[in-house]
């Protein structure tokens, strides 16, 4: 695994980000960031290394699913009960979905299943959001927003791919070597 020693500004290296939107944002920040030497700093080059990206996506997914659950449960349970139950129900469902997804992809690849499970879960989330967006529930707007963000990321993947050379240059400027 690659790592950069003594450079705090490596945190903005685009290759430390996963989603296309975040990689493009990192490219913009990296092109303006100044070299920041810090003794004793070791930053790893891995596409899932950024905490803000991980937390942002996680919160966005849970918030969207909670909105869906609250709107679906409001009819049988009433608004107050639905609002109380929605978040715990979503958290339990998320665990179940991850385990189910994991068991589904487990035989497919020998070792690292995180990427395949990630695609599987995100596809399921898009499908659920598309269904919610097609209903008359108030959460349809949340569903539409979810799909819009996923679409935006897909669109951002095009310039991110076209700017691969610039991203590699930004990585090198932040101390990343091949």
């Amino acid at each position: 695994m690659r790592a950069v020693r003594g450079r705090a500004d490596t945190r903005w290296a685009p290759s430390r980000f996963n989603f296309a939107i975040f990689r493009l944002a990192a490219l913009v920040v990296a092109s303006r960031a100044v070299v920041e030497h810090r003794r004793g700093e070791v930053l790893v080059i891995d596409r899932n290394q950024n905490a803000a990206e991980s937390y942002a996506v996680s919160i966005w997914v849970v918030a969207s699913l909670t909105a869906y659950a609250a709107s679906l449960l409001a009819a049988p349970l009433g608004w107050i009960a639905a609002a109380i139950v929605a978040l715990p129900a979503v958290l339990v469902l998320c665990q179940a979905a991850i385990v189910a997804g994991g068991l589904f992809v487990l035989p497919a690849i020998r070792h690292d299943h995180t990427r395949l499970n990630s695609v599987l879960l995100m596809t399921s989330l898009v499908a659920v959001s598309a269904w919610i967006a097609s209903t008359t529930l108030w959460s349809r707007y949340v569903g539409m927003l979810f799909i819009a963000i996923v679409a935006l990321n897909a669109i951002a993947a095009v310039p991110a791919r076209l700017l691969r050379a610039r991203m590699a240059a930004a990585d090198r400027a932040r101390g990343v070597t091949d």
Partner: protein
């Protein structure tokens, strides 16, 4: 053994789940999973009460109500460090590091005749030992407390055998007399020996000390070993500083010399120096001192 024991808090099922998570969990779902399971493990009464009682000693004027939420933070950090450790073992993905006390760390690396690293149950000490041996090229001998559950212990040993580093030997301190000779030999070969100095397991020699004004038993082995092998002890703490980020804090070495008639008098100074470091680090990083039992007999069990 009853089949359901694997589902107890220290049971093997949770280690297997952690491994499953490291191999299958999408990274963008990690915070949700951690938040959920940290809350779930708060239902483990003995562990929660142990953490809360330790917190009451670390923060003497704290409220039990607040310590309940602090206990959640301890479980949260434990979950993350366990995952980071598992991910490294299974996928060789390492976190970011920052070094504090780099001069001491460099001195430790260049110690010609071996040294003792004294650490605590904080952050990912397991991961740090693996990385240290891989990155520095120095052989390391790590001594750790055995798991209480036999199946969990077996799982850990199997995983160690399957995913361990060439430069790292892990031993469980179950038989102190046998292990002492192995450790002495390792030091004499110029290897580093890492030992946890904040918890005592049954059957190992102890030394009385004070921690946060409470009497506590500290393992005397590392200090006796330093005295016998004439090597310094480096207090080294691995502190989780954020998601996939750790701080490796190396303190000034403790030198144990035979200067007085009674051996215990020399050891007492060294133990006092260690507990002082320990107190300072735990006070600042209470949220990741993974001590799930009351650390002192004076604290109610």
């Amino acid at each position: 053994m009853s089949w359901w024991r694997r589902f107890l808090p220290r049971g093997v099922f949770w280690r297997q789940m952690a491994r499953f998570g490291a191999l299958c969990l999408p990274v963008w779902m990690e915070p949700v999973v951690m938040a959920f399971w940290s809350g779930f493990f708060l239902m483990w009464g003995a562990g929660r009460r142990g953490v809360m009682r330790n917190l009451a000693a670390i923060k003497p004027r704290s409220w039990a109500f607040v310590n309940f939420f602090r206990a959640y933070r301890v479980f949260w950090n434990f979950g993350w460090t366990m995952t980071d450790n598992m991910r490294f073992k299974e996928l060789r993905i390492i976190p970011d590091w920052e070094f504090v006390g780099l001069d001491h760390f460099e001195k430790l690396q260049s110690e010609p005749g071996g040294a003792i690293i004294l650490t605590a149950h904080m952050g990912s000490y397991d991961l740090a030992a693996q990385l240290f041996s891989e990155l520095t090229g120095r052989r390391m001998y790590m001594v750790r407390a055995p798991e209480i559950d036999p199946q969990t212990q077996e799982f850990e040993q199997q995983q160690e055998g399957r995913t361990g580093s060439d430069g790292l030997t892990v031993e469980f301190n179950t038989k102190s007399s046998d292990l002492a000779l192995d450790l002495l030999e390792a030091i004499q070969r110029g290897e580093l020996v890492a030992i946890q100095g904040d918890r005592v397991t049954p059957g190992i020699a102890t030394f009385p000390a004070q921690l946060f004004s409470k009497p506590v038993q500290i393992p005397s082995g590392p200090f006796a070993l330093a005295l016998a092998a004439r090597v310094p002890i480096y207090p080294l703490f691995v502190i989780r500083a954020g998601r996939r980020r750790y701080r490796l804090q190396t303190c000034e070495p403790i030198v144990v010399l035979r200067t007085r008639a009674r051996r215990d008098d020399d050891l007492r100074d060294a133990v006092a120096a260690w507990t002082k470091h320990l107190e300072t680090v735990i006070e600042a990083g209470w949220y990741q001192w993974f001590m799930f039992e009351p650390y002192s007999k004076e604290l109610p069990a």
